[in-house]
Amino acid sequence: MPNPTNPIELVTRDFSFYYGNYQALTSISMDVERNRVTAFIGPSGCGKSTFLRSLNRMNDIIPGTRVEGKVLLGGVDIYNKDVDVVDLRRKVGMVFQKSNPFPKSIFDNVAYGLRIHGERNPSAVAQRVEESLRAAALWNEVKDRLDKSAMDLSGGQQQRLCIARALAVRPEIVLMDEPASALDPLATQKIEELIFELKKDYTIIIVTHNMQQAARVSDTTAFFYLGELVEFDETKRIFTNPKEKKTEDYITGRFG
């Protein structure tokens, strides 16, 4: 575990996850620091995405899954029966691998979450939409065509729109599942710069297959293998001198 420098935002303790009889995650304990970027790396099927999706209960919709252990946000276990999942997902937002704007206008995409959460005041909505688009570094590119369809934006713009949509409801944590894997290098660079800016106000957790990306954007890195958390430490340490041989073998491509 890294030596925390910031307050702890999210804590998991002995968290295990099952798809039916298949155990996808084994006893994951991790402290995620506030205003830091935490990267999850590991080979396909290692459980990193399952773990990410467990942090805002995205896996709930998959039938036959169950969890053990705890995920504590503000001291409350998000798997408690009385937790409002819609409210949880406001606090813990998510951006997916494939940008998924709604077939609506740019404005309505960002305003969507606000309206769901009961914001009816048009000027308040407009203000928050602008703030969110600015925070997602998209405002200057779209401010003159907010009423145009989001589907007409480029891939990189669509992904930043999805980030703006996630930010609009003022989350505490933003989960990103391979947010740049479908983007070209320039659009990827924009997303990475954006992540760096966003950590001032948010806690970011990112899953990426691109190890150089994890090295560039994150402060701490967690390496998962076969559903276990093998090593979790400062990113600088993981990529220059990891403690575990498995981590070393994975990041230097000597695996298997």
């Binding site: 190890m211 220059t240 001198n241 990891p242 981590t247 070393e248 990041i251 491509g253």
Partner: protein, 228 residues
Amino acid sequence: MERHFHEQLQELKKKLTTMSRSVEESIEKSIRSFMLRDAGLADEVFRMDDVINRMEMDIDDDCLKLLALQQPLAADLRFIMAAMKINNDLERMGDHSVNIAGYAKSLIGTEAVPPINRIPAMAKIALGMVSESLAAFVEGDADRARLVCLKDDEVDAMDDAIFKEVLRLPHPGPESVSRSLALVLASKNIERIADLSTNIAEEVIFIVQARTIKHHSELSVIEDRRAR
């Protein structure tokens, strides 16, 4: 399956080994030219230096390409960083043997002074350190590298002894001063070769254990070993 990249790292290691053999040969020739006052041997050292310099540039180029194209991490990254430094250290050793060959030429036709007899023993230890540091590099053996660092004091003491002995010599005229200077400077160059081999040993420890021991940051560990 071995990655192509890791084969390239092995290739880099081989090139450094080849270079180190040339450097050792050049040092050895420079010492012989110095002891025998042999201009032919000194000229061979000068020629070898061109070859060593070309090897250095070639290895630099390989390292740059590997960094840019493979974006190495962890042990691989440490290996390439260390290889660049070892490359530089070996090239410097080549320069020191050129210096020694130059002093050899300046001594031709002059009479030998007694402290010169200390040079072969000193050079033997320094050459042993060079080959041991390279062997430690090839084997990835941090313990072997540490032993190289311990040898450095012996060479320093011998260099010191030569200097003190030269000070006690009578220096009736400019020729005797220049003869003594050549000896002192040759000794100093051998001492630097030994220093550079401890640099290589330190790089080996960095590759293997990701620890920096240079500039005496781990002196206590070395001293503990010496006490045993």
